[in-house]
Symmetry: C2
């Protein structure tokens, strides 16, 4: 696999990207070529200092501009054509690379990937698939922000894309898949989620979904059940993801504050150090590395702004798995018969909801 890395993306760029590149060159022999995109002089000096400057698998590509973390994504793509992010995506567009990775501005990464790479055949909308760690393993939530104004039918694409990620990256051949709703009963939901339920239920009955559709799901299912995939619109999904992250952080914050107040608790915390570390690693976004923007041609991975070198390594690992397993081809194959069936469903789109 050949990957282009937006070396200027991330709160602590380019350092984290140099760290990640070094780790990936060491640990991932399948990474044939790594293109580091950013300010050439800076990157050259830093790669030399990190001891990877002369690596034949590494190539630095100059990009004079950087997209800021607070810029409007769409405007950045339109105006900064020579940004590290834009040029990174261009390398996939022109066939030089198979995958692109950025820890920069998420909105800009989504916009650049969607506009430049275009959608896969049969996919209506691109969606971000975010693995959330839970007490069992991971639950994949999609969409977590690519498309805040989704239509119910978009959830079908998110389902198929997440299922292929579950199958080829997490080894779950028949992932349990639910729709986020305000209650698990069939009758619960908004007009949006009820329509999505109706479409998914119909496709499941027709045997066209590469997954096990289990109906509605809630917060509890994300964190403490057998659920593998949770579907939702990008607005709710983004809020949900950040609420889960923020709650875990607040919990850790309260623990730390409590420990500081009492010498006995401080002593106790020493005994519990191993447990805290294990949970910290488990909940850390760095162990996941990044979230794919699925549904576009090529592989596009978006890492957290606060990513470190390990996160970049793990994100490259994810990209390699998606490329090696031809996940995009599997999505196209699955969407064919689904879209044929959905066209037949148009006629009953306004029929009263059965649930």
């Amino acid at each position: 696999m050949k990957l282009s890395l937006d070396a200027m993306g991330g709160d602590n760029a380019p350092d984290i990207n140099i760290d990640g590149a070094k780790l990936a060159l060491q640990e991932l022999p399948a990474l044939q070529k790594l293109y580091m995109v950013g300010d050439e002089d800076t990157l050259k000096k830093m790669c030399d200092a990190a001891g990877i400057g002369g690596n034949p698998r590494l190539e630095i590509v100059h990009a004079p501009e950087v997209v800021g973390m607070d810029e409007s994504g769409l405007a950045a793509v339109r105006q900064k054509k020579r940004s590290s992010m834009s040029i990174s995506v261009d390398l996939v567009k022109d066939g030089t690379c198979d995958a692109v990775l950025s820890a920069g501005n998420t909105g800009a990464a989504v916009a650049a990937s969607t506009i430049k790479l275009r959608l896969l055949e049969g996919v209506e909308r691109a969606g971000i698939v975010s693995p959330i760690p839970n007490i069992r393993n991971y639950v994949l939530v999609s969409d977590t922000g690519a498309n805040p104004d989704a239509k119910p039918s978009h959830l079908v694409g998110y389902a198929v894309m997440s299922a292929m990620m579950a199958r080829y990256i997490y080894n779950i051949p028949n992932p349990k898949t639910g729709i986020m709703s305000n209650g698990t009963e069939d009758c619960k939901g908004s007009a949006f989620s009820k329509e999505a339920y109706r479409i998914m239920h119909h496709l499941a009955q027709a045997g066209l979904l590469p997954l096990d559709f289990i109906g509605n799901c809630e917060g509890h299912d994300l964190l403490e059940s057998e659920l593998d995939i949770a579907l939702t619109d990008g607005f709710t999904g983004n809020i949900l993801l950040k609420c889960v992250e923020a709650t875990a952080k607040a919990f850790a914050h309260m623990l730390k504050a409590g420990i500081k107040k009492s010498p006995l608790a401080m002593l106790g915390a020493i005994g519990m150090r191993g447990v805290f570390k294990e949970i910290g690693n488990r909940m850390s976004a760095d162990s996941i590395g990044g979230c794919p923007l699925m549904g576009v041609r090529g592989v596009s991975i978006i890492a957290h702004g606060s990513a470190n070198g390990t996160a970049i390594l793990n994100a490259i690992r994810m990209a390699e798995g998606m490329h090696r397993n031809n996940v995009n081809d599997r999505i196209i194959e699955a969407m064919g018969p689904i879209n044929a069936e959905l066209q037949g469903m148009d006629s009953w789109a306004d029929a009263p909801c059965a649930h």
Copy 2:
């Protein structure tokens, strides 16, 4: 204040309601009369056993039916006219009581309160206001499930109702209020949240909101910022609330599992017992007691299905505060000029969004 208690509501009813009634009769002298609604024979025996049977402030009202936790709310209200929940609400409707409290089926409690009590003058939709404990105090989230298909303008009512709760129950005269969105920048949001933002911004500029409107907010703001009120539709709000609860539970679950695996951690946990207990109390829904369904005539409080006696006591305390401060009158007063302004806004409802 006179309150009717749905004594058969809750996972552990009627026991928890007997416990709560006993505590409330002891601790809340402002509770002039408590009507316990449910199976007369059962309640009579249990109240006698609890030593409150002869209390002149207690009256048992017979209700032969019970609404199950899994029943459809609307159907239950229509079909079970003699359920403990229906009769509890009837006691507010006919003026016998000022407030009603149920730990039963939330959907049925919302439906019964909305249909029987009707909306306050000037309020478009009722909304549930849920206090979420955070590292500072509480953040009030509304709506958390009364209305899964909200219109943007409904958020104005939720804002005013939450602000009155913040002012009179939590002593926050000018609560910092945001709209949940997929990013804090003005330009972020779904079509729904952007339109809500536009309306709220206009009303804030006009000086008509009894609160400090700060724009968009995210998960981090709920848990670790100065935010007092977060506005959202009932679908997203319900998902958000359950995700926060589930994450806190999963975190606690992981800690317990980790402690069990290591003798050193077990010893450490003993030292940290005080910290764990403090966080547990802080995050517990029981210390809040219940969430008001605001916007209906009278006071209607919905407690968690897993409520215990302390939760019932605290929910009655909340009802008393809302009644004593005439919160409903304050809402009607605030909504008058707001609605006059909103009528003038209709003409630009389809204008392009400024944000």
